[in-house]
């Protein structure tokens, strides 16, 4: 099976009537995702892509029984769209919008506290459970159904690693783009926990990069739980240009933002570090072979 989505996932798209919302909703329907409607204030009562459009998320839930929302709303109102979905108690919200102001995300994070919603993103390519459900903008074709979970901060590396896994004969249970922004919803650690609880996930690939401390947070969790499935990690940015690494005193104080300290933390926790970005699929294949032996 998969995490976050299943056979009963019924998706609405907030911002479906725009260009991106239209294009990607249609692509998702083609993939087999059960898209049940759209939300656009002022266009309630109309139809788009042969689906009903509602003024509010709450109304869409009542009428369609939607249990997941995908957000394609432009940056100025994206946070309000997320908050609307959270307040309507939408179980899963996938925010794809790029360039959401960070202080708006502080409001969203506050709203998430104590809520029943899992927010994925923003600045995420979405969630893909091969053959089951696609909520997002990722290309499809190289994914295969299988048992590897992928957690990623980077859309481009998710496509790359998915293709590598498939070539190594390993399918994916779910690939999750947790988002490339500093402040976002579902964390690496929480996403990993979901994979651990999924009986059909037999290995997890973690794709991290410089900045923030999520990889360390995940490392702590891995060290505590000592999972019996292999965890393969790729952390990129060891040779990023100096000015991209340079922060202010706040970033320095923790000494956690650089790639090497993330790699060290994950390795110490028992994760297998892919020695190069092109070897992630092979590393997982060998790890599974070793485990089976």
């Amino acid at each position: 099976m998969a995490i976050l989505v299943d056979h009963n996932t019924r998706v609405i798209c907030q911002g479906m009537t725009g260009w991106a919302g239209t294009h990607y909703s249609a692509a998702m329907m083609e993939y087999g995702t059960n898209v049940v409607g759209g939300v656009r204030l002022g266009k309630g009562g109309s139809h788009h892509l042969n689906l009903p459009v509602f003024d509010t998320v709450a109304e869409a839930i009542t009428v369609t029984g939607a249990n997941a929302s995908m957000i394609f709303v432009p940056p100025p109102t994206a946070a309000d769209a997320m908050i609307e979905a959270i307040e309507a108690e939408m179980p899963l919200v996938v925010a794809l919008t790029e360039r959401v102001p960070v202080q708006d995300m502080l409001r969203v994070r506050d709203c998430l506290k104590g809520s029943r919603t899992v927010l994925v993103g923003p600045n995420s390519q979405g969630i893909l459970a091969p053959g089951l459900c696609k909520i997002g903008v990722m290309a499809t074709g190289s994914e295969r159904k299988g048992e590897i979970g992928v957690i990623s901060r980077s859309a481009s590396l998710t496509s790359e690693v998915t293709a590598q896994l498939s070539r190594a004969g390993l399918g994916q249970s779910t690939t999750v783009g947790i988002g490339g922004d500093a402040i976002h919803g579902l964390s690496m650690r929480d996403c990993f926990e979901l994979f651990l609880r999924d009986p059909d996930t037999g290995g997890v690939v973690v794709i991290g990069e410089i900045g923030g401390a999520e990889e360390q947070e995940l490392a702590e969790f891995v060290a505590e739980t000592r999972p019996d499935i292999p965890v393969v990690a790729l952390v990129v940015g060891r040779h990023a240009p100096a000015e991209r690494r340079m922060g202010h005193a706040g970033a320095f104080q923790k000494g956690v933002g650089d790639a090497q300290s993330k790699i060290d933390a994950l390795a110490a926790a028992g994760a297998i570090i892919a020695s190069s970005p092109h070897l992630v699929g092979e590393t997982m294949r060998k790890a599974l072979q070793l485990k089976a032996a």
Partner: protein, 387 residues
């Protein structure tokens, strides 16, 4: 977007935070007039470049009197200032801030920033501010006290007072410190800042706080709410990088000979790592944003084709849902036709429309070295650059 020091100080002054009296000068004559107007015999002349470490690099001159200020300004203006953060090539000084020099009895460190882990605004304060605070923190010679501000917009005054005590301020100063924090908190939110740093924050003999230096970074994603601030954009960074930004390319110039063309930031970082692992030296970092057209990509290739240091080009593309491989192929074709130049080009194409992209390379007559995987491509590109 980073504000220059004088712009940051003007913003802080607008929130009632004390800064030294001063004005920005573009010429030494300007500097002389400003210095005379200030009427103080103790003055500071400070190079306005957007990089830290100016003090240690000689970009801040303390002078006595207006004539010396004019001389210092003359020496700084037009020169290139290399600090620990600019790299060896340095930045050209196009303006200087001439201001009164403040006698301080103590120098503190104070900043507001966003803690990505908690998703809250956090205050960092230290009993000692200094030029090399980053190094001293890394060496464990300085420490900062932190205070998370929570999600509410109001500052908890009791917590602010406690923070003041923790950095060794007396009762009266602590109250002023809390006032200052309230103002900064408001500025941080209203300006859509991601960082406000005052280092050093001077305590004067009369127990007043004065921001001797100020660094403000604004959230680029929120500039649509601040057209006035967006207009201040005074980019003293690399001109090519700024132009590339407008063409939907995140481009950072580096000092090697392998030019990189990559879609996606993560894959871009991965490619840098692989080129270095193959003992190569990247000439740039490039992340083609999903919104880039083939003409934008052509602009990126043109930058590399026109750069004499670039001896080979490595194209590492994984076509995604928003950006198929053929856009990149068209970009190279257009750039080669426009510039009439070529360069050994190694490509690794995978994902959406990879086959079609190969067909497009043929159409344009681009002779590329096609590799099956990223590592082979990286090693071939490095070998071609060093041939």
């Amino acid at each position: 977007m980073k504000l220059q020091e004088f712009q940051a100080k003007a913003q802080l002054a607008g929130y009632g935070i004390a800064v030294p009296k001063g004005q920005v000068a573009l010429t030494s004559e300007d500097a002389l007039a400003t210095a005379r107007g200030l009427g103080s015999s103790h003055l500071a002349v400070k190079a306005q470049i957007q990089a830290g470490g100016r003090g240690l690099a000689g970009g801040v001159r303390l002078v006595a009197g207006a004539e010396e200020a004019a001389q210092a300004a003359g020496a700084l203006l037009g020169s290139r200032l290399a600090t620990a953060q600019t790299g060896p090539q340095g930045r050209q000084v196009r303006q200087v801030l001439v201001e009164e020099a403040i006698q301080s009895s103590r120098n503190l460190y104070l900043s507001l920033s966003i803690d990505a882990v908690t998703g809250e605004v956090v205050v960092l304060a230290g009993a000692e501010g200094s030029d090399n605070i980053e190094d001293r923190l890394l060496r464990g010679e300085a420490r900062l006290e932190s205070l998370p501000l929570g999600a509410g917009r109001e500052l908890d005054r009791k917590q602010a007072l406690e923070l003041a005590m923790r950095i060794g301020l007396g009762a009266e100063l602590a109250h002023r410190f809390a006032d200052l924090l309230e103002r900064l908190r408001r500025a941080f939110t209203e300006l859509d800042a991601t960082l406000i740093e005052i280092n050093p924050l001077a305590v004067t003999a009369r127990d007043e706080f004065v921001a001797l230096d100020a660094k403000i970074i604004l959230d680029d994603n929120a500039l649509f709410r601040h057209p006035d601030l967006a207009a201040l954009a005074d980019e003293d960074g690399d001109e090519i990088e700024i132009v590339a930004q407008r063409r939907n390319l995140n481009y950072v110039r580096m000092d090697g000979n392998v030019g990189l063309v990559v879609n996606g930031a993560g894959l871009g970082l991965a490619t840098l790592d692989m080129v270095r692992a193959a003992n190569g030296r990247p000439a740039n970092f490039m992340d083609i944003r999903t919104t880039a057209t083939s003409l934008d990509v052509a602009f990126g290739f043109t930058l590399l084709l026109n750069n004499p240091a670039v001896r080979s080009i490595l194209v590492n593309v994984h076509g995604g849902g928003m950006q198929p491989c053929d856009i990149i192929a068209d970009g190279l074709g257009v750039a080669m036709r426009r510039t009439g130049r070529s360069c050994p080009t190694v490509v690794r194409l995978d994902g959406n429309n990879a086959e079609y992209a190969r067909f497009r390379f043929d159409n344009f007559g681009c002779k590329v070295i096609d590799c099956p995987d990223m590592w082979t491509a990286a090693t071939r590109a490095v070998a071609a650059a060093n041939a």
